[in-house]
Amino acid sequence: MNRLSTLVKSSSSDLLVLLGVVAILSILPVALNPFLLSVATGVLIFALAAIGWNVLSGFAGQFSFGHAAFFGLGAYTVAILLTKYSVSPWLGLVVGGLVGAAFGLVVGWVSFRFGLKGAYFALATFAVAEMLRITFNNLDYLGAGIGITIPLVYGDDWVRMQFSNTREIHYWLILGLLAVAVVATIAIKRSRIGSYMFAVREDEDAAAALGINPLKTKLVAMSISGFITAVAGGYFTLFFLFIDPDVVFGAVVSVAILLRPIVGGMGTIWGPVIGAAVLSLLGELTRSLVRDPPAFLSFIEGANGLDQVLFGLILVVMIIRAPDGILGWFRRRRKQAQT
């Protein structure tokens, strides 16, 4: 209890922001139409996955290009436990998270033991995710390429986590999970392990000279990261009720997860959430622009892929102009204004 109260005291500003954000977001379902509410739920799921990525790559500095591995493992764990063993997703999410954490430990132990760093670690994680995608595509027990569909049930079923007004409840549940994850990262940032992650990110030799075990620190980061992202993946299954290997293990998923914190601000508490919000807003805007363009742009109507061109362009410009993300950009602007 004592540590909880110091956490509250020392990070009161972050927690206040969280309270405000959750308060605003929780009344959103009233304002949004069902389609946009689904979109918003997807945003929250990927924000959660991004928070997981941020712990490993933003906090501990080990850039992962394969977080789809965790996302997919979480998704499949929930799906298999539910469809084959009728295990409630409530338990499935926890088990999925643990599977993600365990997988993170194994992959992390092997790669860090062999001294993989920087781009090599990134490529290795990428390869691991791709291997899982290919493997799952070939395992009949796991539905192979066809994937797994969660059977629908009628009415409210809290054990199977399906509800008649499914959108609102799922939205609130994932919002709750997201809030928990944010609190967890705030706690990590304030605590010894967070401080150690930052130190390892900045300079492993200097960290070791201060008594930090770099391998252990990176493994802790990897397992926490794997846990959070796998839970997000598990929720993906619950919300979309269908998964296949390409959907949850694909390279696109890895990129979608890592883009959010980078756009928002890597290694910050709010970066993943801001990045998730901004990216989805941009995505929706460009998509609706192509779907229903203003008169002077009518020639782009229905041009499949144009939204992605715009997205790529924004990404390129952002990396050149605001390499440390939206939060970093604001911070720099403020510093410039001060001097």
């Binding site: 540590r3 110091t6 956490l7 020392s10 304030r190 605590s191 010894r192 401080s195 150690y196 930052f198 130190a199 990110r201 900045e202 300079d203 030799d205 200097a206 960290a207 070791a208 000279a209 201060l210 008594g211 930090i212 075990n213 770099p214 290694g267």
Partner: protein, 244 residues
């Protein structure tokens, strides 16, 4: 006098080059032992071995009753033997306070206590005004002090200081010497490598002279400057009483 650190017959070669040859010495509790010798004499290699950064080819290191020559750097640091780097390695992306906090966490888990420890260390080393500045972009003098404060925050029994004065102006150097003295007065034993002769003569209780990887002489500063082998090998050529 109790011996806190014993180095016994340590050797290290890189390829054909013998960087350290059969070096041995004791560090007593509360003592400052200074290492001098020309560039490339093997001082930093010796430090790296003691700190566990590179393994010795042969020989033993005993710290506080435990054999450490096979330990990893972080294990040795945890026992209370903490080093600074000749080329300072601040955590550039963190603030000064966050840097020191990393060290403070070694022996305390509670963030509040660690914070207090960090503030105290910054006060001792004169870093308080810089607490919330990013470590990146600080002057060399401040970064050297940061390196010291960070190591000190771990509550070390022994500090290894590798050229904490190098590159500092005389005024900055004098301030740093004061800081080092006050740390020693706080009961921390130290091994220091230094090129500024006046400083190391004034600071050290004893001085060890390393030349071509060998321990040429060890003794009180007054004895060392009179030792004919030392004068011939080292002091005779480049002895400077004033810092350069």
């Amino acid at each position: 006098m109790t011996t806190i650190l014993n180095v016994d017959d340590v050797s290290k070669s890189f390829g054909g080059l013998k960087a350290v040859r059969e070096v041995g010495f004791d560090l007593h509790e509360g003592e400052i032992l200074g290492f001098i010798g020309p560039n490339g004499a093997g001082k930093t290699t010796l430090f790296n071995i003691v700190a566990g950064a590179i393994p010795a080819d042969s020989g033993f290191v005993t710290f506080d009753g435990q054999r450490t020559e096979a330990m990893r750097p972080h294990e040795i640091a945890r026992l209370g033997l903490v080093r600074t780097f000749q080329v300072v390695k601040p955590f550039s992306g963190l603030t000064v306070h966050e840097n020191v906090l990393v060290g403070a966490f070694l022996n305390r888990r509670d963030p509040t206590e660690a914070n207090a420890r960090s503030r105290e260390m910054m006060r001792i080393t004169g870093l308080t005004p810089y607490a919330d500045r990013a470590a990146q972009g600080l002057t060399l003098a401040i970064r050297k002090r940061l390196e010291l404060a960070r190591a000190l925050a771990t509550d070390p029994k022994v500090l290894l200081l590798d050229e904490v004065l190098a590159g500092l102006t005389p005024t900055e150097g004098a301030e740093m010497i004061e800081v080092v003295r006050s740390i020693r007065d706080g009961g921390v034993s130290m091994l220091i490598i230094e090129h500024v002769m006046a400083a190391i003569m004034a600071l050290s209780d004893r001085i060890a002279v390393i030349h071509h990887g060998e321990m040429l002489a060890i003794g009180k500063p007054a004895e060392i400057v009179k030792d004919p082998r030392v004068v011939e090998a080292y002091l005779g050529e480049e002895f400077q009483i004033a810092p350069d």
